[in-house]
């Protein structure tokens, strides 16, 4: 019997009217054309085209490719005829015009491909076109020779510039002086395309807050911002966001973890073949480490903390020559910092760009501790790679130097002031994150032409001019009118052809943004983190705040205090507003009880282990903290009290204070001290407390513990974990948080059905919603309208419309049940409006 039946079976995507016949890069297919074709192969280009329209990409290109372009494309122009693009085709050749539009009979092209004269027929060799192919060409001519805009058979001569370039800014509209706007307004003007409309304050607020710190603006922030009449409020808000080091770091950690394939758990860790750079990275983000230094510390790590990136993943057992740690090094450095994909060239000379096998191996050899033999497609070539890097025009690596020196040299070349590829690559990534699409796109194909070279070059030079300050670049972008414009409503067909800037594009929230947002609105979410870092205080100062308390007693020399003595200490102060968080760490030699505004809030017996006490019960106005301390023993012995307080207000300002000179003491009699639930009725008199002189007997043991307690207490009470700091779970994976075995530079932009199932019935999200609903139910809302407004202000940064309110308050204005609140929350967070940054 015969072989398998291999009748062509159309793929399901074809059945659905999608494209099916795509091309792959090969030696026969010049790379630039490949890229051009890849663009036009986007499915939208043929979606919905009437059936009798000829499909250029899938019906004509294969014919031309098979029969014509060998002699009539690129530098090959047999008979003076080239069909690189539509224009050269129409120009014709030595025999005159090749095509008369819509006139098949008059078209030389048609005559040639159908000619029976062997000296005349095209192609001159082989079987020529089939009858079906001829029919297609006829239809193509009849329909006016439709061609995909921007597509060319010619190999691209485009090679991106390496060195920085300082473009001249067009004069532009004096009302829009921002450099980015001058560049983009000019581009739009050239095309006579309207400027995208501006956005409202609330749209701006939500977009920029999610983009820069990954969080929703709170209803309070929303209200304040909306009512602020000042003209510079957007600039000030941007500054405030960028100054929030912790929120910034904990948001951008996601981007960098993806780009540096760093995670808290994952493959390779099990066998010890991989190390984290989390602590280094977190600190670098908090400090806004200049990007050139950042790159140097990753490429030539000064210590183990940042070494995980170049060391890659060392798998147990044998791996292919294209995946050794040395080759991983070359691939990672190339992709992350230069937007160069060396994955092709790690195995053979690349088909899609100019990189060659020996260049990939040379870069790998910079890292290698052993002589590195070149392998092509996993077969040894008997040739040892010479350490070197990709742009020798900027300098080269000394192949005889030791590894540490080679890495230093590479770091130096990478951050060489003339290496514009580094700065272009990173500003392009930031533009992509903030504006929704790269200036060069995809962002890892930096060999492709930018849609606006001046813009890319301007941003790159600006970064270098400003000390490689990445926040500066972000600020530059988000202060532009371009960023503060309406997002482009992208129709399905708009993906075809050349990209034309028409405003920013909406971005889907990352898994981390989504969860952070859900945790914000519901108050749910974990409080512990998996990232091995010393987490800085949310909204706090950039340095960990220190204690500001002293040891006190009733006399400065308290080494000989009376055994069994009981002393009350008090502090009274005014509060203009309530702090978000207030905690105290207290130690007393030998025991104490503590009361706030008459209510007991804690006690302790072991001075060696201070206690963490939450100052629940503070009021606006006058407050009193009262601590009754008791010295133990029967004979004279040392006594002292230490109470360190930390408060954080709603703006995130941290204040440290505690026992010290403002405190008073009074003796407590035996009778007064009985009954610990309420404070003793101290008769007084009250006198100024004394700072004790011998605090050294307790301080070294107690104060570090007190510091740790406050740090922890403050976090436990004030701050939830950010999703970027916890390891990926089922829900996050489902929402597109990648497995970071590979470098990832784009998250999925689309919600899939399986994800929608998880969001509809998954227990994790349902748990958050129920938690949130219970919490909201307990709060004092005036009406269901009141609650709905709050949910909209938080989740969507806007008021509900009258129609929305009507839908959501249909069952009356009483505050809804927990179930109804949970359903309301679900319906809102499932809205595309919630899940996109727009």
């Amino acid at each position: 019997m015969a072989d398998f039946d291999t009748a062509p079976r159309r793929s399901p995507s074809d059945r659905e009217g999608q494209t099916v016949s795509y091309f792959r890069p090969s030696q026969f297919w010049p790379h630039a054309s490949w890229l051009g074709l890849a663009l036009l192969c986007l499915p939208g280009s043929v979606c919905g085209a009437p059936a009798d329209d000829v499909d250029f990409a899938h019906q004509i290109v294969p014919i031309l490719k098979t029969h014509c372009i060998k002699c009539h494309s690129g530098p090959q122009q047999e008979g003076g005829f080239s069909l690189n693009d539509r224009e050269t085709l129409l120009n014709g050749g030595d025999s005159g015009p090749a095509v008369v539009l819509r006139d098949v009979a008059a078209s030389e092209l048609h005559r040639r491909v159908t000619s029976s004269d062997p000296g005349d027929r095209m192609p001159p060799e082989g079987a020529g076109l089939t009858a079906e192919q001829v029919a297609l060409v006829e239809r193509w001519i009849e329909q006016g020779l439709p061609w995909e805009s921007g597509f060319s058979f010619a190999p691209s001569s485009y090679e991106p510039p390496l060195r920085p370039r300082r473009p001249e800014l067009p004069a532009g509209d004096p009302q829009r002086p921002h450099p980015i706007d001058r560049l983009l307004d000019h581009e739009l003007g050239e095309r006579q395309q309207p400027l995208p409309a501006g956005i409202s304050d609330e749209v701006f607020l939500r977009r920029v807050t999610l983009d820069l710190v990954g969080r929703l603006p709170t209803p309070e922030q929303w209200a304040e911002f909306s009512s602020d009449p000042s003209h510079d409020k957007r600039e000030r808000w941007i500054e405030q966001l960028l100054d929030d080091e912790v929120a910034y770091a904990e948001h951008w950690l996601t981007f960098w973890n993806d780009l540096l394939r760093n995670d808290y758990t994952g493959t390779g860790f099990i066998t010890g073949g991989r190390t984290q750079i989390t602590a280094w990275l977190y600190q670098a983000l908090l400090d806004n480490m200049p990007f050139d230094q950042f790159v140097r510390e990753l490429v030539a790590p000064p210590n183990a903390a940042s070494a995980g990136f170049i060391n890659g993943i060392r798998w147990r057992g044998e791996v292919s020559a294209g995946q050794t740690v040395e080759i991983q090094f070359a691939q990672s450095i190339g992709q992350t910092f230069l937007g160069i994909n060396l994955k092709c060239a790690s195995c053979h000379d690349s088909f899609v760009d100019r990189w060659k096998l020996d260049e990939a191996f040379s870069l790998a050899a910079v890292y290698s501790e052993r002589p590195l033999e070149l392998h092509r497609c996993d077969k040894p070539l008997g040739k040892t790679a010479q350490p070197g890097w990709l742009f020798p025009e900027l300098g080269q690596i000394d192949p005889t130097a030791d590894r540490a020196t080679r890495l230093q040299q590479l770091a130096g070349l990478m951050t060489h002031p003339e290496n514009g590829r580094l700065t272009r690559t990173i500003v392009n990534r930031l533009w992509h994150r903030l504006m929704g699409r790269g200036i060069v796109h995809p962002v890892d194909a930096m060999q492709s032409p930018p849609w606006n070279a001046d813009l890319l070059d301007y941003l790159a030079v600006d970064l270098a001019d400003h000390g490689y300050d990445l926040k500066r670049t972000m600020q530059l972008i988000v202060t532009s009118q371009a960023y503060q414009s309406q997002v482009e409503a992208v129709a399905e067909t708009a993906t075809a052809g050349e990209y034309r800037y028409a405003g920013p594009r909406a971005k889907r929230m990352t898994a981390e943004q989504f969860l952070d947002a859900v945790w914000q609105v519901t108050g749910a979410g974990p409080t512990t983190i998996d990232a091995p870092i010393q987490r800085r205080l949310p909204g706090g100062p950039s340095q960990p705040s220190s204690l500001a308390a002293h040891w006190i007693w009733n006399q400065s020399d308290a080494t000989q205090s009376a055994g069994g003595e009981t002393v009350a200490f008090r502090y009274r102060w005014e509060l203009p507003s309530l702090p978000v968080t207030s905690v105290a760490a207290i130690s007393c030699d030998n025991s104490y009880q503590v009361y706030l505004n008459g209510q007991k809030i804690g006690q302790g017996q072991q001075w060696e282990t201070p206690d963490l006490v939450s100052l629940d019960g503070l009021v606006v106005g006058q407050n009193e903290l009262l601590i009754v301390g008791r010295n133990g023993g029967s004979g004279p012995n040392p006594a002292g009290l230490f109470c360190a307080v930390r408060t954080i207000d709603s703006a995130g300002v941290v204040e440290n204070w505690g026992t010290g000179s403002g405190w008073e003491w009074a003796a407590v009699t035996e009778a007064e001290s009985s009954g610990a639930a309420t404070p003793p009725a101290v008769a007084g008199p009250w006198q100024a407390a004394a700072l004790v002189e011998h605090a050294g007997i307790w301080a070294p043991r107690v104060e570090p513990l007190a510091q740790a307690l406050l740090d922890r207490g403050q976090l436990g009470i004030a701050a939830h974990a950010r999703a970027s700091l916890v390891k990926s779970d089922f829900l996050m994976r489902s929402l597109g948080r990648p497995n970071r075995d590979q470098i990832v530079t784009e998250r999925p932009q689309e919600l899939t059905t399986l994800e929608a199932i998880d969001l509809s019935i998954g227990e994790t999200l349902d748990g958050y919603l129920q938690h949130g609903a219970r919490r909201l139910q307990q709060q004092s809302w005036e009406s269901s309208t009141d609650l709905v407004r709050w949910v909209f202000r938080y989740g969507l940064s806007r008021e509900p419309t009258a129609e929305e309110l009507a839908v959501l308050t249909e069952s009356g204005d009483a505050v809804p049940s927990t179930q109804d609140i949970a359903d309301l929350l679900w319906a809102v967070i499932m809205l595309p409006e919630f899940q996109t940054v727009r």
Binding site: R9, S21, T267, W315, G317, N739, Q749, L754, P832
Partner: protein, 486 residues
Amino acid sequence: MFDPTAPEFEQRRQFLRQLTAASVATLGLGAPRLLSAADGQAIEHPVATADSCILLWMGGGMAAPDTFDPKRYVPFRVGTPVAEIESTFPAIDSVVDNIKLTAGLEHVAQVMDRATLIRSHVLPDLGSILHSRHQYHWHTGYVPPQTVACPHIGAWMAKVLGPLNPVMPAFINIGQRLEGVGEQEELKAFTTAGFFGSEYGPLNLPFPEDAARSVRPPEGMEAGRFANRQKLFRRLVDQSPQREYLSDFQYQSQLRSIENAYRLLSAPERAAFDISLEPAESFAKYDTGRFGRGCLLARRLVENGARFVEVTTEYVPFLHWDTHADGHTTLQRMKQEIDQPIAQLILDLESRGLLNRTLVILASEFSRDMIMEGKPGSNANDQTTEPVEALQTMKHYGQHRHFTGASCVVMWGGGVRGGQLYGASADQRPFVAIDKPLSVTDLHATIFTALGISPQTAFEVEQRPFYATEDGKGQAAREIFVQGKS
């Protein structure tokens, strides 16, 4: 039962068409694109002999000499040199004259006339035997590490073929926990659609008895409330002042996915996930443990139009088939767990008229041997926990080394020739493949071919072609199929 010709099916297909169109369109930037064959022509897919595929995964390394490839049986006796032992189970007859199995597989032996038994599946050593790495290789066709996240073969079927029944997820994975087990990160690395994106990824059902919960409203939410919540959502969408942007495909595709999810969650096919609805008599035949119940679930899902279902005995380091010690005793239990359910699955599929269009595959990441680690000449470290020269206790009796020289794969249905042996391993140790060695690449080509997917199918990812079988080189073993033999 799922009937692809029913009118409502066409409706669903319409619906799916919209969904997929949107998915592909949105993913345009940086998403994998289907490539053609090298000559620029459309890929010619072979004609499918199967519409569905069930992979029965014997995670941990199933010892061929103690299961499907009996060698000389040497019973347990204190003092017997380990090197003299070949099989620890006696051979048994099957319904096919020349196919012998080992004791404990009596039910499976009765359905071997519907199967081709491959005894020459060979695997690489990879320098060191690490189960999850070999499993990655087996499930994706690519040896890790790779520069891109490779799709599982189930994801290839989901991507290229799409769901068979539009409401039924195309890739369903039964029996493997991905949290709280050893090597969980390594398992997650291949239990994924990789660069295809999660639309093509698995619906994970680690506990078959809980599967119904994966397709019903959250605990405590009755059906009425679930439906009302969905209505509320739709009304909000309709009222949204943002609806002017609804031309934005991101927006539309999100709404479609939510609708699609709701459709599954309210579809009658949902009942397929609930194995408690199975008649008691039938349930009992599968009720040997999680794997057995997984087989039942797989059957119910395939009856309702599932495309690819994997059922695993579950890989947990040092458990189940991962016998570093006490192998014989462990395998008695393993066989008890798999024997009857597998046979029942085949018979049930057959009696429902589904076997001829359902390819059922039993496989494992490698085999095992009493004394040899890896294969002859390999440098792999001996990893047995009971290294002895001669038997002292039952703990020493069993196949405790990882063996990659030949392992067994069984294929039933889906156009497979019944009652056939394919390839052979040596009669004398080392038991390497001596006839028709079949690599993972070619085995995958065989599987893909049965499903109507060209082994040369490629998608462009990061501007490079990525093939269904490594470098597009997989060659189907055609004689495994009825139509393939001359």
